[in-house]
Every structure is written in structure tokens, then in C-alpha cells.
């Protein structure tokens, strides 16, 4: 058998596959390291932007652009009233809140009507973007900035479109009803619109894991590391993969993802593009890619920013089952977006987005996970079968595990140097431990979920799946 393996072209084939896997993993790590380097000046720039004087200026100036919050909700009767109350306390000179009850089957609308003493109101609905019919609009003179929209169910993108259609202010901010916003979230995130009002098209805020943090009255009072492994790995991952990469993309103006949980957009630009897209579970990424596409096709340069301040806190899944569901959905969304905008990939017409950002997604988020899984099975097996040398196995382990640990540690240390969020040394140690341990199992699981997501995309699976949340008010760890 071994003789056959060595004698046939099969060994050459395995060597070629092994070399490709090793090269791609190495390349990915080099790019991650470069991204870390690029993220540093962007952190510094964000710190310069963030003086307290500026926040004071934003609150008192007539020039601060008003913002409409778009809040889609589906079957949220347990939390919707608290969420809206929390949004009403945001520090910002002029905000409008458009809450959309997206055909909930529970008492979401009734809870809102009762809690805020809402009455039917008249408001023009121009239907500039596609959405399901609106059944009713509700408001109250007591809270003139609050509008509740009752509409037929059409999904998150559809609900956001209805809110966008009704929004009055020049900036719109899409937020998840089940996330926590810092009281000064808008003040922090709106800064790029202040510095470059004409060219800034969108700003994403940093989303961090709230599990383990001390939360009171809808506000994160103290940032702590989660106690469970699954949540801890995600807390590290949110910093390594999401924060660092997005800061680096901001540096090269290639931000293509703004989380659906918190993102500010120029309303007119969204309307021009037809709003959020239906039929995708990755409507947040699809929107930003389309924003870039539209801007390049109109020959109108735009800037898309990511602000490093953690402005939005989310409850991360605490079981592998829920996490798997979330990650496969994210991967499906990514694949759908890349497929929809496949003509942009590698096209110089779309600048750095077409030539760098989207090809990187394709290579490192679609191709590499498949090869990584293949490598995890193939490289040790072939080494023990005598096809690969032990040196090859060692090189593979160095690139996958040791580089991975370094990158996770670098990211956490840089983020903490810039943001200084953890007060207790215990949390620093826990996060560092998470940064090391996540490389042995969690990252590989992530790759497996990605591959599953790709499979579901190929099978054209639709829908979000249930996302059970426990709520933020549980006692902190």
C-alpha cells in the first residue's frame, strides 16, 4: 500500500495540495500581520478624533447632523419596551426612533402601544424602497421623536427598508433591538460624518461581547472577560478578527462589512441604491459592497469608516449549537454577497474593493477554510503514512498554531493599549488565555462551520434560524 502511495502520482498530488495549503495559510497569516500594522495608525487617528471637547461640541452645536434610528423587531415582546426606553436615553441632540414591528406573532405592538400610550399618526410613506405593506403608524405627542410602524412580515431587510422610507433625518442608524448601545454611542460613531460630511457614506461601530460584563439599566458599567470558554473565545475573536481587520480596512478605505447591529448611513445614498436587499441573510455586508459598487459606477468617491470605540454590546451565543447556527448563517451571507457581486471580484474598475478586499474574502474566508480542514486531516495522516516529512508537519503546525497564537495575542494587546477597557488584571489574563487556547479547537471548529455555511449556500438554504437569548440582566460572572 505504502509502495503504491509513493509510486503513483497520488503522492505528487498530495504534495501539491499540501504545499498549496501551507502557502495559503502562510499568506493569510502574513496578511493578518500586515493588517495589524495598518490598524495601529488608524487607532491613533480615532483617538485624536475622540476628545471630550468634541463630544461637548457635538451636543451643543447646530451643525450636528440629526439621526434616525432604524429598529426592526420581530417577536420581541419581552424586551422591546426596555430596548426603546434605552434608545430614548441616548445622548444626542436630535434623534428620531423608527421601530418596526415586522409582523410579529406575539404582543410586540401591543406592548409598545401600552407602554408609550401610542396613537395612530399620519405620515407620508413614499415607497421609495421595496417593503411589505404598512398596516399602521403610531406615535405620541409626548415623544415626538418616536414612530412605531406596524407592517406585514418580510424579514429584517424588509423592516429596515420600511423604516428607511419613513426616516426624516439625513443620517440613519440601523440597530438591533436586542443589543445594548452605550449612551454616547452615536456621539462616538458620528465623528467621521463631522470631519468629512460630504464624502462619508457610512460608519460602522465596534461590536463587543457583553457576556460577563457588569450591566445595569441597559448600560455596560464594567467590561469583564466572559467566564465560559465559548463566550471567551468569541470575545477574543471579536477583537482579533472583527476589530483589527476593520481598522486595517479603514486605513485602506476597503471596509466592506458594517455590522447590522450598529451602522450609520447617509440616508439619501441608501435610498438612491434601493435600500436593503431582500433574499439574503447577509444584508449588512451586501449593502456596504453595493454602496461601494454604486459609488464607483457613479464615479463618486466615498469613504466608509469603522470606529474602534465599543459602541454596541451584543449577547454572544453561549452554546456551540447556537454558535454554529450563527456562524453558518454569517458564512451563507458572505457567500451570497460574493456571488451577487462576483463581477466586482478582481475588477480594477472597483479599485481596492475589487482588487483587494473581495478577492481576500474569497480566498481567506471561502477557499482557505476548506483547505484548512483538508490540511488538518491530510497533513498528519500523510506524515504518519510517510508521504510527508516530519519537517512538513512541523512547518504546518508553526504556521497554523504558533502564528495563530501570535496574531491573537498581538490583536488583543494592541486593542487593549488603544482602548483600555479591562480594569481587572484577572480579565487581561483570561483574555490572553483565550487568545492562546482558541487556536486549538475553536478556530478549527469555525472553519468547519464556514464549510457547512458554504455547503448550505450551495444547497440554497434560506432563513435565519432561531437565536435564543438569555438577556443582559443576569448576574455578572
Amino acid at each position: 500500500m505504502t509502495q503504491w502511495l509513493h509510486g503513483s502520482g497520488f503522492a505528487t498530488f498530495l504534495w501539491t495540495v499540501g504545499a498549496i495549503i501551507l502557502t495559503l495559510q502562510g499568506l493569510q497569516n502574513v496578511i493578518y500581520l500586515l493588517q495589524l500594522g495598518r490598524a495601529v495608525p488608524e487607532f491613533l487617528r480615532a483617538r485624536r478624533r475622540a476628545s471630550r471637547l468634541r463630544e461637548w461640541w457635538l451636543l451643543s452645536s447646530e451643525n450636528t447632523p440629526p439621526v434616525t434610528l432604524l429598529v426592526p423587531g420581530y417577536n420581541e415582546e419581552a424586551t422591546i419596551v426596555e430596548s426603546v426606553r434605552s434608545l430614548l436615553t441616548l445622548q444626542y441632540p436630535e434623534i428620531e426612533i423608527v421601530v418596526v414591528n415586522d409582523g410579529s406573532k406575539d404582543g410586540t405592538l401591543a406592548r409598545l402601544i401600552e407602554a408609550f400610550e401610542l396613537q395612530p399618526v399620519r405620515r407620508a410613506l413614499p415607497h421609495r424602497v421595496d417593503h411589505q405593506p404598512v398596516l399602521g403608524l403610531y406615535g405620541t405627542p409626548r415623544l415626538p421623536g418616536l414612530l412605531v410602524v406596524d407592517k406585514k412580515n418580510g424579514g429584517k431587510a424588509d423592516a429596515l427598508n420600511a423604516a428607511l422610507d419613513l426616516a426624516k433625518h439625513p443620517l440613519v442608524c440601523a440597530v438591533d433591538a436586542d443589543s445594548l448601545l452605550d449612551a454616547d454611542a452615536l456621539l462616538k460613531a458620528v465623528r467621521p460624518f463631522i470631519d468629512e460630511p460630504e464624502s462619508t457614506a457610512a460608519v460602522g461601530g465596534t461590536i463587543r461581547v457583553a457576556n460577563g460584563c457588569v450591566v445595569k439599566a441597559g448600560q455596560v458599567l464594567e467590561v469583564r472577560a466572559p467566564s465560559g470558554w465559548v463566550e471567551l473565545f468569541q470575545a477574543v475573536e471579536y477583537i482579533r478578527a472583527f476589530l483589527m481587520a476593520r481598522m486595517a480596512w479603514t486605513r485602506s478605505q476597503t471596509v466592506t462589512i458594517i455590522s447590522g447591529a450598529f451602522g450609520i448611513f447617509h440616508r439619501e445614498r441608501l435610498l438612491e441604491m434601493g435600500g436593503y436587499s431582500h433574499g439574503t441573510v447577509g444584508e449588512d455586508m451586501e449593502l456596504v459592497v453595493r454602496l461601494h459598487r454604486h459609488a464607483h459606477e457613479q464615479n463618486e468617491p466615498i469613504q466608509v469608516w469603522h470606529v474602534p470605540d465599543p459602541v454596541c454590546w451584543t449577547e454572544a451565543p453561549d452554546t456551540l449549537k447556537l454558535l454554529a447556527r450563527q456562524r453558518t448563517r454569517w458564512q451563507r451571507g458572505l457567500c451570497e454577497t460574493l456571488w451577487r457581486h462576483r463581477s466586482m471580484i478582481g475588477s480594477p474598475k472597483y479599485g481596492a474593493i475589487g482588487m483587494s478586499a473581495l478577492p481576500q474574502f474569497l480566498l481567506f474566508d471561502v477557499v482557505t477554510p476548506v483547505l484548512e480542514l483538508l490540511g488538518l486531516l491530510l497533513v498528519p495522516l500523510c506524515t504518519f503514512a510517510g508521504i510527508f516529512s516530519v519537517e512538513f508537519l512541523l512547518a504546518y503546525c508553526l504556521i497554523v498554531f504558533v502564528f495563530g497564537i501570535c496574531i491573537s495575542l498581538f490583536s488583543f494587546v494592541l486593542a487593549e493599549f488603544s482602548l483600555r477597557r479591562f480594569k481587572r488584571p484577572r480579565d487581561l489574563w483570561l483574555m490572553a488565555l483565550g487568545a492562546i487556547v482558541e487556536n486549538f479547537g475553536y478556530r478549527q471548529l469555525n472553519s468547519a462551520w464556514r464549510v457547512l455555511g458554504i455547503w448550505q449556500f450551495l444547497k440554497k438554504k434560506q432563513g435565519w434560524g432561531d437565536m435564543q437569548r438569555k438577556g443582559f440582566q443576569k448576574p455578572a460572572a
Binding site: L33, W57, A124, P126, R128, L398, F422
Partner: protein, 348 residues
């Protein structure tokens, strides 16, 4: 050296660097905790000194000078917190305290730092201090800073203190790069325009880059001087839609009838945001008999927001009679008429 050896070396270096950074973070964290404790001690000590002075129970001169930089930083931080807590009630007393403890000198020193973030803090601190020769000179000096954000902060400080003696210099300092794009720059000139009593209309007769015009027109609108309307109207022919929009906003702020004709013409502009602003300006400058027809035409504009603004302007000018009984031409008009209460929602 083989590939594997190179990899070993590379990973060893990276791992060493990561560990080094990790320990640096731990050290910084520990130092910061110590510094926070020290700052808390300074706060405790200074709170007892500051409160009677701010409350006018003790003389300002009883306050000592902070001895170290960290003490100065702590006192300034404490004063900022007090200022925020009192919501501006004791702002004058706090300014006097800042002058007494030598904050202006400290701000000037920060302006000499090689780090832009420190220089921004310096400019902000000088803007907060009382109006002294030292703080004014410092802020004026900061207008030449190489970082646009420092210049912006200094310009804001000068505007709030009503100390912009040479607006042309401030304008050039902001237009040197992208600082003029910021909404803060517009605020600087709005504040200056509101407070400046001298005639600066000669600036409106010169040539400026796009953002220079935006800032000057912002100031002209805030100044509210009707005799400058012809100078502003001339800018409606500018190729930049931003300049045209700002000129219309200025005309709206002044509200003089001389601006009506120009605003009417601007209703035909290709940019929807200009047309929307023109409709708004007409409500401030015009009369219904002069611009009713133009606004009625805008009710059929291809942009919904222009129509909404035109309808509002018509109603503000008392043109409800023109609309009562009018059959909506299309769905958008119907929606707007329902919103304005001109027709019942049942008919939609």
C-alpha cells in the same frame, strides 16, 4: 538556511514580540492603576480646596499652584468633571481657577508637544482658560500647526472667545487642507459671524476655494445683514452645489425679500438638495404671491423630499387655500396631502 529553519526563526521572533508586548501591557495596566489611585488622591485633596473657591467662600488666591504635571492634569480633569456636573453654572469661577493654577501656561506647553493628540488637548485647554494674552497668543500660534485638528480646535477656541482678529488668517489656516471640510469649521465661522460687529463684506468680494466660500457664507448667514444679500446671491452661480446650498441657507437665515428671485431660480437646479433648500429659503424670504406658483411646481418634483419641503413652505406662507380641494396628481402627493391633513386618510 532551510525553509523550516526560517519559519522557526520567524515564529520565535513573533512569539517573543507578542510576549514582550503582553508584559508591556501588564506593566502599563499596573502603572495606570497606580496613576489612577494617585489621581484619586489628588482629586480628594483638591476637591476640598476647589469647592469653597468656586462657591466664592474663599479667595482665589488661596489656591496653590500644582507642583507636578500629573497634579496639574488631575486638577484640570477634576475641574472638567465639576464643570460637567454643574452644567455650566459655575463656568466663570472655573475659568478663574484655571487661570489661577496656571493652566494657560500648561496648555502652551502641551502645544509644543510632538504628539498631535497632546497639541489638540493644549488648544482645547487654552480655549477653556480665561482670555489672557498668553492663551490668545497660544491659540493664534496653534493656527499654524501642521495638524488640521489642532488648527480646528484653536479656531474654535478663538471663535468662542470672540477673539478672531484676522478672519482671513483663520480661513486660510482651515482651507490649507481638509480641516475646512469639517462641520466644526462651519461652526467656527457661524459663531464668528454671529458675534462679529465689524463690516467684513470685503471678504465676500474676493476669490476663495470651494470650502472657503462655504465657511464665509455660513458666517454671512449668521451675521444676518440684509445689505450683503447681493454678494451672497452672486454665489448661486458657483459650480459647486455645496456652495450654492450654503448660499441659499445664508439667504434663508437673513430672510430678506431680495433673496426671493435667486431662490426661485435655484428651484430649477439639477441637484435635489439645492432645490429642497431653495424651497426652504422661499418660505423665509418670499411672499405667497411671489413664489406660490414655483412651490406648486415643486410639488411635482422628481425628489420626494423636495416635494415635502415645498408643501411645508407653501403652508408656512399661508398657501393652504391653494391646496384645499386640489386632487393629488400622484401617490406621493396623496401621501403628502394626508400627512399635512389636507385630505382624509380614508381617501387614500
Amino acid at each position: 538556511m532551510t525553509l523550516l529553519q526560517t519559519l522557526w526563526l520567524l515564529t520565535a521572533i513573533l512569539l517573543g514580540l507578542a510576549l514582550l508586548l503582553w508584559f508591556a501591557l501588564l506593566a502599563t495596566h499596573s502603572m495606570e492603576s497606580r496613576r489612577a489611585k494617585k489621581t484619586a488622591r489628588y482629586h480628594e485633596r483638591w476637591l476640598d480646596r476647589l469647592l469653597p473657591v468656586i462657591d466664592d467662600e474663599e479667595a482665589l488666591k488661596t489656591l496653590p499652584l500644582p507642583k507636578r504635571r500629573e497634579e496639574m492634569e488631575a486638577v484640570i480633569g477634576l475641574l472638567r468633571e465639576l464643570g460637567e456636573r454643574f452644567r455650566g453654572s459655575y463656568s466663570h469661577s472655573i475659568t478663574l481657577v484655571l487661570d489661577q493654577i496656571g493652566a494657560a501656561r500648561f496648555g502652551c506647553r502641551l502645544l509644543e508637544s510632538r504628539w498631535p493628540s497632546q497639541r489638540i488637548r493644549g488648544a482645547a485647554l487654552l480655549a477653556w482658560c480665561g482670555t489672557t494674552g498668553e492663551s490668545t497668543r497660544g491659540l493664534e500660534h496653534a493656527l499654524d500647526d501642521r495638524d488640521p485638528r489642532v488648527r480646528l480646535e484653536a479656531a474654535m477656541g478663538l471663535a468662542r472667545k470672540q477673539l478672531i482678529r484676522d478672519p482671513e488668517r483663520v480661513l486660510r489656516a482651515l482651507c490649507r487642507d481638509r480641516a475646512a471640510h469639517s462641520l466644526i469649521a462651519r461652526d467656527v465661522f457661524r459663531v464668528w459671524g454671529e458675534t462679529e460687529t465689524a463690516d467684513w463684506s470685503k471678504l465676500l468680494k474676493r476669490q476663495w476655494p470651494e470650502y472657503g466660500w462655504v465657511l464665509l457664507l455660513e458666517a454671512a448667514g449668521a451675521a444676518g445683514r440684509a445689505e450683503w444679500v447681493p454678494l451672497i446671491v452672486a454665489r448661486l452661480r458657483h459650480p459647486s452645489r455645496l456652495v450654492v446650498r450654503t448660499a441659499l441657507t445664508a439667504l434663508e437665515a437673513i430672510g430678506d425679500p431680495l433673496g426671493t428671485e435667486a431662490a426661485r431660480k435655484a428651484c430649477l437646479h439639477s441637484d435635489y438638495a439645492v432645490r429642497r433648500q431653495a424651497a426652504k429659503t422661499l418660505a423665509a424670504c418670499g411672499r405667497l404671491d411671489e413664489c406660490g406658483a414655483t412651490l406648486m411646481e415643486l410639488l411635482e418634483d422628481p425628489a420626494f423630499e423636495v416635494r415635502r419641503r415645498a408643501l411645508r413652505s407653501l403652508l408656512e406662507l399661508g398657501g393652504k387655500n391653494l391646496l384645499t380641494g386640489k386632487t393629488p396628481a400622484d401617490d406621493w402627493q396623496r401621501e403628502l396631502f394626508v400627512e399635512a391633513g389636507l385630505i382624509a386618510p380614508e381617501t387614500t
